[in-house]
Amino acid sequence: MRKTLDFLKRGGFLLLLAAVLLGGEAWMRAADPVGHMTCIPRSDYEIIRRDYPDMTFERAVFGSSAVTASYIAGRNDTGYVNLGVDYGTVKDITEMLEKGLVTVTDELVLGLNNLSFLDSLPTNETYPWHREWYEPYLYFQRDRLYALITEGVDSVLRGGPFLLRDTSNQQRVVYRGALTDEALFESWGSLVERFGDTGPADCAENFAALDRLAAWCGEHGVRLRAVWMPWNGKLEIYPAAQSIMDAADERMAALGIEVLDATRVVPEEYFFDTGHLNYDVGSPWFTDWLDPWLAEEG
């Protein structure tokens, strides 16, 4: 007894520290307090999780912001949920499924463009599937917490409130209206400048993820299909993009994934920019066009 007390006395700090670190980490990993804060901008994943807390879906369309902004879930009676997340790639949905962050039980449709396969595409670093096993929760969330504190302190120093925003009703971004031709070509030029030199060799991780995704869907009895998302008819599909799409088509054919090409089906006037539709007119049009295909029995 005396020995135990002595040990506790001498090692009390270390024990307490270990308990706080391990216990706190376990609690934060389970509860994700930062992801639930309403004073921090939420990621698209967190918005979906807020709206569908169990994150289990019978049918889902996954993709990037092109999917988020172009497919209106619930408009028709297909039962598909829009799982579009900013910068969503094939690797992202694969990791989400593998790590149990989302569950799809019946049908999964990938809404694709060339960027969906690009390994070097920027991403939202706070998506939970990006966290490595060795990264403590607070470390992983450091940028958002740092911004919360510094912006809050700045605001207080200027006589404002500490909490600057309420994101409890934040929605994923959609696009309304249309860019002028000048702005459209400028935005497209910037895309070509950034991604015009890419090719299938820059997609190795995403192609490998596609293989894993097909395997995962096969194991779990999920029907996997894909659709090439609309591309503004005013703009050329630049060669680098086409080469990636061709390589992906080959790969999907080999994996037996049914693919629908919607790149040139939406009239130009329904676009906001290169690949985002005008949510007021383009997205309803596209949803009505796509839903019959989504509803087809496998």
Binding site: F7, R10, G11, F13, E132, Y134, E135, T150
Partner: protein
Amino acid sequence: MWYLQADTLVFLLGAALVYALAAAAARRVSPQVRLTPFLLLFDLGVLCFVSPALAAFYIGYTLVTYAFLRILKGVKGPALRRGLFVLFCAACALPFFYARFALLLPALPAVFTLVGFAYNMLKAIDAVFYVYYADKDIPLIAYANFLLFFPVFTSGPILRYRDFERDYLSPGPLTLQVGTAAAKRFIRGMFKKMVLVALLGQVLARLLEARLCLPVSLALIIVCWATLYFDLSGYSDIAIAVSSLTGFTVAENFKNPLTAASFTQFWRKWHVTLSDWIREHIFVVVSGKRLGRPASAAIGMGTMLVMSMWHGFTWENLACGAFMGGLLALENLLGLTTADRRRTPKGIFWLRCALVNFAFGINALSFSMDLGQMWDVVKGLVRL
């Protein structure tokens, strides 16, 4: 700085803990057993984890500089020995000078990855000094451990072989007290680096937006002093904490510099291992140990210039080295190098401390801004 990267930090802490537990277990079996030679495996593991090219470079550097030590130990004639001593010291520093003049020189293969080299070169030179002056052999494994000791690899504190050897042959035991002290110090260091330095960065940014006048310039000098202090001493805290887990006592780098009432005292309290290294390895050796005021002043100036240029071959560093060196030289010439805290009136003592740290604060501006901005801040001191 490796301790700020999550994956490398996990590896470093993991390596230190695994080694510490293994050493503690071995000590239980037999108090005579020491595992310090095996630390080399952890050193190389960390280097390989960070970059195989870095590991390859340092293995090569270790072997080449060890060959210098062997040759120096074997040579008999005093003149040849002295010549080789100087030559080997210079050769140890060659990659450092290459890095500083890289833009003017042909590119080297990618294997020349010089992370932490500014510090490790000083350790290699120290080993040359040790062999030359102590005329003792250094075993290869001990030397490699010394040079590649992972807790202090990237940014010091700078080890000296004679200190390292003491712990290498007789490492301290890992006790609950040691573990507790290490944990507390590690947390303190991390807090300085991750929280205080980051927040001070915000304050600095806000101050730089303001019109420069006396209070703003004073605040900038204080913030720059504090940023540099928390940054460097935070790193030292972390490195010392991790080292203590492996049974090594690493020298303190910061000893309450705010209580320095002269520049001479200041440099015995600020980045101590660097200023000590330069004084002991360059100027004391060159000049002998009994110095008059002019010689001390010249050494002070030289030390500051060398130390500044060690940070980087830039005009900012040259100007700051001349500024700090000039003050140190003046202090030596006027015989103001020491101030006994008990004999000096309290007010005078603290005024001197404030002036010394204020002058260093001006020097610290150079770590956050260019010469032009520094000059603007100084001009702001005479504007209300």
